[in-house]
């Protein structure tokens, strides 16, 4: 008999002995006894389930904690390895920049010397040159000029990459600056029979920029546009103002940039394959320098391009 029922019978009927309890009640008491027993069984089952379940959750927690520690250690180790690798890369990069700077400086002086010497030869009145000699010297001058340009770009890239230059900001008429640059390019455009059109909103506010740096940037962009255009093609330059921003765009209808190479176009020393095929001479520094110049001015540069169709670069300045 269940102990609770036994206690209750003793209390209320004076006895728990079934023989002393009226027969007609015994079936009922049996049912009550069963109910008490089942209730105990149910309670025991629930408690057991709770205990086992809690144990399983604790075990799961412990395992998750342990796995978490392993993952965290892996993350720490890998972060450490990455940091070290990054430091090594930065050191390498710095050494490379220093090397470039030293080499460029070392080269510039003799190159400048060669330039002046060649110039004097061409202009000499006392010992005039034959046509053939002049042609050869002009060819040397061109090559020398290219080398000077490359050395200057390397020096620019180094200075910009290491942040070792300051902007000399001046209120600048950007329309006039761009017009000048287009004018400077006239020899190149004539050579390749390229037509440059320039349209602009009126008025365009003056911009606080370093005119030499911005000139360099637009020279680079226009040079690329002309270089990669088909002969007798057009290059459209446009300047407009919208929402306190001045946007200068340069569009050519030339070789375009392959889609899979577009993500790298502003990387130093990178040149797209079709650009290398079209124009083997080039060091891949130009666009990275242009980007750095614009960002130093608080501006941005982006582009759209479709291979074999057209490319447009957008330089955006905040007014």
């Amino acid at each position: 008999m269940h102990q609770v029922l036994e206690r209750q019978l003793k209390r209320f009927l004076g006895t728990s002995e079934l023989e002393k309890i009226p027969t007609e009640l015994r079936a009922f008491l049996q049912a009550v006894n069963d109910t008490y027993s089942h209730s105990d069984e149910d309670r025991a089952l629930v408690l057991r389930s709770l205990e086992l379940s809690s144990g399983e959750f604790a075990e799961l927690n412990k395992r998750l904690h342990s796995e978490n520690e392993i993952i965290e250690k892996k993350v720490r180790d890998r972060t450490e390895a990455l940091t070290k690798a990054n430091e090594e890369l930065q050191t390498l990069d710095k050494r490379k920049s220093e090397f470039l700077s030293v080499v460029a400086h070392q080269l510039r002086t003799p190159l400048t010397g060669i330039k002046w010497a060649l110039s004097m030869l061409v202009q000499s009145q006392s010992e005039p040159l034959s046509a053939k000699q002049k042609k050869l010297i002009i060819s040397c001058e061109d090559g020398n000029e290219r080398m000077i340009t490359i050395v200057n770009e390397m020096l620019h890239a180094d200075r910009i990459g290491t942040g070792t230059f300051e902007l000399a900001l001046v209120a600048t008429d950007i329309v006039a600056l761009i017009s000048d640059v287009i004018e400077e390019m006239s020899l190149l455009t004539t050579e390749r029979a390229i037509t440059i059109t320039f349209t602009h909103d009126t008025p365009i506010p003056t911009l606080m920029v370093d005119p030499e740096m911005i000139r360099f940037a637009f020279q680079n962009l226009l040079d690329n546009a002309i270089k990669y255009s088909q002969p007798h093609g057009t290059v459209e330059v446009r300047t407009e103002v919208r929402n306190a921003r001045v946007t200068c765009s340069i569009t050519d209808h030339g070789i375009g940039i392959p889609l899979d190479q577009q993500p790298y176009i502003f990387s130093r020393f990178f040149r797209a394959q079709n650009a290398i095929s079209a124009e083997p001479n080039g060091n891949g520094l130009g666009l990275s320098i242009v980007k750095s110049i614009l960002e130093k001015h608080g501006g941005t540069i982006r582009f759209t391009s479709e291979e074999k169709k057209e490319t447009t670069f957008y330089c955006v300045f905040t007014v």
Binding site: T35, S49, L52, S53
Partner: protein, 383 residues
């Protein structure tokens, strides 16, 4: 529709339920009884003598339901006369679970005729694979024919289950009843009342409806741990912890409940009433009293609401044996909860089962295998 009911017990013999007495010959007599009683055959002979011209469906049970009483080792009998509805009966025997799909198809094809409105299935509860059986029906029957029914039982013994058509009953048998005609209105509802608990595990080894391992450990070992002293009562006590599975079904995830039918100490396996696919997430479930009663009540509401306007005349209740394990001596409270919803006019008959068949919602027609539910089919004939 007219119904008369009676029951048989060892103490009182045959007792008529006062309400209703047929003067017509009923087309269908439902006989739900203890397995040993049906095996003896004597009671069936008596029923046959009472209804010589009727089709008699016999099912062994895990508990007999008549009105709001639940009995064991008794016979619950309902004889039904349909005024405007015709019935067709079909039967098939399966030797093993793998045959269940074809069995379902065969029965469905036998019943698929013009005017078919509803099918009720009464199936062996131990040999048949309920999942495959259901698929067989669903693949053949038109989408506007509803299917309900159950897998019959054998108390908490799980030794053999019997189904018979015009006989006392045999193992492996499935009987399907087709109802034809537009006068018959059918409603149905199925609800459980069990809740998952604890950590989610994964079925790591199984074959069809036999489960070997959860999370790489023998499933039987897990059940014995949870049951403690009650592990001696396996497989019956295993009903206290059905499994909830999250099954992938045509790209969607559905939750189903699976109940234990048997165990094997030799290979530490557990047989369930439906498929247990490897890789399926599974959680143990538990019930409490109030949730089960609410589930029964909810199923009653669903079965009446889906019947449309008008009251039910007959309600066939198929409730899972697992519910008795929890409700115990208070099991009749769930029948009373159903009665409270379907009204006093309906004749209630039914049994405790090893599986229930019903659409997942009253708006659906195709049936699914359920476990641990109260499943109700209600009938009304319009005049």
């Amino acid at each position: 529709m007219k119904i008369e009911q009676k029951f048989w017990t060892k103490v009182d013999g045959w007792v008529d339920v006062p309400k209703g007495k047929l003067s017509e010959t009923p087309q269908w007599v439902l006989v739900f009884g203890g397995r040993k009683l049906l095996e003896e055959g004597e009671r069936f002979k008596e029923v046959k003598a009472m209804y010589p011209k009727s089709r008699i469906l016999s099912c062994s049970t895990a508990g007999e339901i008549l009105d709001t009483r639940v009995r064991n080792d008794s016979i619950a009998l309902s004889a039904v006369f349909f005024e405007k509805t015709t019935l067709t009966f079909s039967e098939v025997t399966v030797e093993k679970g793998e045959d269940s799909y074809e069995a379902g198809r065969k029965l469905a094809n036998d019943l698929k005729k013009d005017g078919l409105t509803h099918v009720m299935v009464f199936s062996d509860g131990l040999r048949v694979n309920g999942t495959k059986l259901v698929r067989g029906f669903n693949d053949v029957l038109p989408s506007d024919v509803s299917v309900t029914g159950g897998l019959v039982g054998d108390g908490a013994d799980f030794k053999k289950t019997l189904v018979g058509l015009d006989e006392s009953g045999k193992e492996g048998k499935i009987v399907a009843v087709g109802f034809y005609g537009h006068a018959l209105k059918i409603g149905y509802g199925s609800l459980g009342g069990w809740d998952p608990f604890g950590i989610e595990r994964t079925i790591t080894k199984s074959k069809d409806n036999v489960l070997y391992e959860l999370d790489g450990q023998p499933a039987l070992k897990l059940y014995k741990e949870y049951l403690g002293e009650q592990a001696n009562g396996l497989p019956g006590t295993g009903l206290l912890f059905p499994l909830r599975l999250r099954l992938k079904n045509v790209g969607k995830e559905v939750e189903v409940v699976r109940t234990i039918l048997g165990i094997s100490e030799a290979d530490q396996s557990m047989t369930f009433a439906g498929d247990m696919p490897e890789g399926t997430p599974a959680m143990l479930m538990k019930a409490n009293f109030e949730r089960l009663i609410d589930g029964a009540s909810g199923a009653g509401s669903m079965s009446i609401e889906s019947l449309g306007s008008g009251k039910a005349e007959l309600a066939i209740l198929i409730s899972c044996v697992g519910r008795i394990m929890v409700l115990k001596e208070r099991v009749e409270e769930e029948i009373e909860a159903v009665r409270a919803k379907i009204g006093n006019e309906a004749a209630i008959v039914g049994f405790y089962s090893y599986g229930e068949l019903c659409p997942v919602a009253p708006t659906e027609k195709q049936c699914e295998l359920h476990n641990q539910t109260m499943t109700i089919t209600t009938f009304r004939e319009e005049s």
